[in-house]
């Protein structure tokens, strides 16, 4: 930059120098012009004065009046002596004397062209003076003219004052006066005629050292505009040149330093306003890269407005990102549905509690809560309602524990934004582990009963029904309790033990259970069954048992109730009440139902082929009933096996239809229209009203065995059974009595007009083979094709 500026000065200096010289030259020419004008003017005035004085002299007037040319010539010739010699003011060349009409009367003999009148000098001036008339004839006229090749100055003055009688022309040589310009300018000059002839040159004119001189020239012109004399002048510019060079060096030095200052200042400003702030931003980015927590740190930056805007955006972005990171971190620990801590957070806190309680030698409890029947809510009312219900449970838990004195009641409502810190209060925590599974940590436990009380509180709280979008929903829950340090010293063990206690509670259908080593066995069994059920269905470990139903009026067996059994390879035969729950928990109900239906119908077909006609009655679980695909699937099986619809009878419990009566009804109607027989199982144990019962498209009802078993001892039961039979018949339904264990009961039922009997007295549930054998031996074998059941009777 500095060098560049100096180079610029150096280069531009040449131009400047040329300009300076040119300007100097113009100044020189200007001076020459001025001096020439002044000199000619002065000469004109002097010539005029000389001429006026000559014409005014008595002698001249005398001889002029006499008109003698020779006399006049003598007078004017005398003037040469007078002026040329004595005063060096002008160099006379010629006098001409005219009459008042400009006729030449005489001329001086001293002049160069004195002999030849035709060679008269500056005749053009005479031509100018002659035509004048009036007062202007008195005016003095002058002119610079050329005669031969030389310049002359001529002036004409009137003779005779106010009343002119003639004219006197004086001619002088201007070169004599113009030479004096060298003194006035103090420079050597050279005068040349326009044709080039040298007429004067200063003594100190020196062409050799021309480079130190500046040449100026000027052309003196005649009054008529012709070239008269060329002036050359030499100006010594040594001093000027030196001054110029010194000035150049100074300017270069100044430009260099100015550029240096500018460059340094620019660097300083750039450093201060841009580079430094950018470095700080970069450093902050590196720090943030190493540690995200530094995101929220703001960088104070000074600089130009662009950099400040960048820094401010950087800070805003940092703050926003830091907030988002915090939020995401919180979200990783919080269950979004309920706002409760999630499993991850629960584990963290549990570990913390373990360490803390070990140090402080304190007890604490973990309570695992699992809702019963939550799946039904989800399946029947939709996940949306299920979600609302779960979040409601979260609040219920807070409420219940508040009553227990641990948590503030509306804690979840009170906090605007849940964070990890505000979800733990006095080390207590309520968490949702997933699905319908919740966990509670009760810190600083004094005795076991405290945990039990808490569990009771929870159960009580869950007991109340909730209204969600117009649906009144209530579910029960089971709580499993494990205590530190009694039941485990690490998180995994504690949670497992609480889980075992939970299943124990579920098994015995109680509200809660505190862990007991006895449960281990059971729970282990339960867990393995849970794992194995899926394979059991696919690997054919399930089998069907059939219990015959005696048609009392026909006195023969024309239908069987199908009962599923699990032939476990290690544990032997397992009854459905031990694995149906598991099927529900594992979502295997639909597969199981499908298998049972298919197997039962195939068996029916086999029997049919052997000439045995037994309607198969399959129990439909609550979940299976709400499966919208059920009718379609049954239709598929029937047509596959080419069976009539009345080969199948479906048994459902009263309660099963109560969860979503509309949906149940629509499915049942659908099945009924297909021609499938329907029966109400365990009739008398539910709460269904008669009017409701009337709406169900069923063909028969099965009176619960509890009534039948007691019939022989209790008159009341007999009355109930009697009334039920009458009622059913009035509604056009057939009646099946279960739990028939002796002959007298069968006889009573027969007397009461009951249609079917089922129970150990007739036969226990048996395999297909056993049943076939039994049928061969029994008296109740149908000789005739069985009476067409219910449909016709009903119609």
């Amino acid at each position: 930059m500095v060098v560049l500026s100096m180079v610029v000065v150096l280069v531009s200096w040449d131009i400047y120098r040329e300009l300076a010289y040119e300007s100097q030259r113009q100044g020189l020419v200007e001076s020459l012009h001025r001096e020439n004008i002044n000199t000619i003017e002065t000469l004109t005035e002097v010539s005029r004065d000389v001429a006026l004085n000559v014409q005014y002299s008595e002698l001249f007037r005398e001889v002029f009046r006499r008109g003698d040319a020779t006399e006049i010539q003598q007078v004017i010739d005398d003037q040469f002596h007078q002026y040329v010699v004595t005063a060096d003011v002008l160099e006379l060349v010629q006098f001409y004397v005219y009459d008042k009409n400009f006729r030449l009367l005489s001329q001086s003999s001293k002049g160069p062209q004195s002999e030849d009148a035709s060679q008269a000098i500056c005749t053009s001036l005479v031509e100018r003076g002659r035509p004048r008339t009036g007062p202007v004839r008195l005016r003095i006229i002058s002119e610079l003219c050329r005669a031969g090749d030389r310049p002359y100055l001529a002036v004409i003055v009137p003779i005779g004052g106010l009343r002119p009688i003639g004219y006197l022309q004086i001619v002088t040589d201007p070169i004599h006066n113009l030479q004096a310009i060298e003194d006035k300018l103090r420079m050597p000059i050279q005068l040349r005629l326009p044709e080039g002839e040298l007429v004067y040159q200063s003594a100190n004119w020196n062409l050799n050292s021309e480079e130190n001189f500046l040449m100026g020239n000027y052309m003196l012109k005649t009054t008529n505009g012709a070239h008269a004399l060329k002036f050359n002048v030499m100006q010594d510019v040594t001093q000027f040149r030196t001054t110029l060079n010194e000035a150049r060096n100074e300017v270069m030095a100044a430009a260099g330093s100015a550029a240096l200052v500018v460059v340094l200042f620019a660097i300083f400003v750039l450093e201060k306003t841009t580079l430094k702030p950018l470095q700080r931003l970069t450093k902050q980015l590196q720090r943030v890269g190493k540690d995200r927590k530094k995101l929220s740190e703001t960088v104070a930056i000074q600089g130009n407005s662009e950099v400040r805007a960048l820094a401010s955006m950087f800070n805003e972005m940092g703050t926003e990102l830091s907030r988002l990171y915090d939020r995401y971190e919180e979200m990783a620990y919080i269950d979004s549905l309920t706002g409760l801590p999630n499993r991850h957070f629960f584990q963290d806190h549990l570990l913390k509690m373990l360490v803390q309680s070990t140090q402080q030698k304190q007890k604490f409890a973990i309570l695992l809560l699992d809702l019963d029947g939550f799946k039904e809510i989800n399946d029947t009312l939709g996940h949306h309602v299920g979600d609302i219900f779960l979040s409601h449970v979260g609040k219920l838990l807070y409420k219940s524990l508040k009553e227990f004195g641990i948590m503030p009641y509306d804690h979840l409502n009170a906090i605007a934004c849940v964070t990890r810190s505000n979800l733990i209060i006095n080390d207590a925590m309520i968490a949702r582990l997933g699905g319908d599974e919740f966990a509670i940590i009760l810190p600083a436990l004094k005795e076991l009963d405290d945990a039990v009380d808490a569990a009771k509180c929870i159960a009580r709280a869950l007991d109340s029904a909730v209204d969600i979008e117009g649906q009144s929903i209530a579910v029960a829950g089971s709580v499993g309790i494990a205590i530190y340090p009694e039941h485990g010293l690490d998180t995994e063990t504690l949670v497992r033990k609480a889980d075992i206690a939970l299943y124990a509670a579920k098994d015995v259908k109680t509200d809660f259970a505190v862990y007991d080593p006895i449960y281990d066995q059971n729970s282990l069994k339960q867990l393995t069954l849970k794992a194995e059920l899926g394979t059991a269905i696919s690997e054919g470990q399930l089998l069907l048992h059939y219990q015959p139903k005696l048609h009392i009026h026909a006195d023969c067996i024309n239908s069987v109730e199908v009962l599923v059994r699990w032939q476990h390879p290690e544990r032997g035969l397992i009854l459905p009440d031990q694995f149906l729950n598991i099927a529900e928990q594992r979502g295997l109900v639909s597969r199981l139902t499908e298998w049972v239906l298919k197997e039962a119908l195939q068996q029916h077909k086999r029997w049919r082929q052997q000439g045995i006609n037994l309607t198969v009655a399959v129990n439909l679980s609550q979940r299976a009933l709400y499966d919208l695909h059920l009718p379609e699937r049954i239709q598929h099986f029937l047509s596959e096996l080419e069976l009539p619809p009345d080969a199948l009878l479906l048994e459902i419990t009263e309660d099963a239809t109560m969860i979503d009566p509309e949906r149940a009804l629509s499915i049942l109607h659908c099945l009924d229209e297909m021609g499938i027989l329907l029966a109400i199982d365990d009739f008398g144990t539910g709460y269904s009203s008669l009017s409701y019962l009337k709406r169900l498209p069923v063909d028969e009802i099965k009176i619960d065995k509890t009534f039948v078993l007691e019939m022989s001892e209790s008159d009341d039961d007999t009355k109930i059974v009697h009334a039920t039979i009458d009622l059913a018949h009035n509604l056009g339904l057939q009646v099946v009595a279960e739990g028939v264990e002796n002959e007298s009961t069968l006889e009573t039922l027969q007397a009461l007009g009951c249609d079917y009997a089922q129970g150990f007295y007739i036969n226990r549930p048996a395999t297909a083979d056993q049943l076939e054998n039994w049928l061969l031996k029994t008296d109740w074998q149908c000789k005739l094709p069985p009476l067409d059941s219910s449909k016709k009777a009903k119609a």
Binding site: L52, L138, R139
Partner: protein
């Protein structure tokens, strides 16, 4: 600080000059009137014509005699206004109708005007006044005499 003082001074000076300007204007208006009642104002050309017409025209240079020697119209008589009186004029002519022309340096020169006034008071009837004077004369390149 010095620069400030300098500019304040300049400002004050400029203000003062502006205020003084109206006072100086009348001073510049020293030119004489174009016409003096009872006399004829003439130009250089009219003077020449007059001289051509009237042989006996009395041409009086009203300036001091020393000025007269430095350059005067040929044929004029030097009679400074300070010396002008009826008596002095009477030496040249007593004829009240004799044409007399007065001039001096120029329009700003009061001498000729004074002399004209005196000539009028003395009763001269044909008084001419060359108001432009020698200034106009020389400017128009008319001849004059130095002694």
């Amino acid at each position: 600080m010095k620069i400030l003082l300098y500019w304040i001074q300049r400002y004050i000076l400029a203000m003062c000059s502006l205020m003084l300007l109206p006072l100086t204007l009348p001073a510049a208006e020293l030119e004489l009137p174009n016409v003096i009642p009872g006399t004829t104002t003439v130009s250089a050309e009219e003077l020449i014509k007059l001289a051509g017409k009237i042989e006996s025209l009395l041409l009086i240079d009203a300036r001091l005699s020393v000025d007269h020697t430095q350059g005067a119209i040929e044929g004029s008589i030097s009679l400074p206004d300070t010396m002008t009186s009826c008596n002095a004029l009477g030496k040249f002519t007593t004829d009240e109708h004799h044409p007399i022309l007065f001039y001096c340096n120029g329009p700003k020169c009061e001498r000729s005007a004074n002399a004209v006034q005196i000539a009028r008071e003395c009763g001269y009837q044909n008084v001419y006044w060359f108001r432009g004077g020698l200034e106009e004369w020389k400017k128009k390149n008319y001849p004059f005499i130095r002694r």
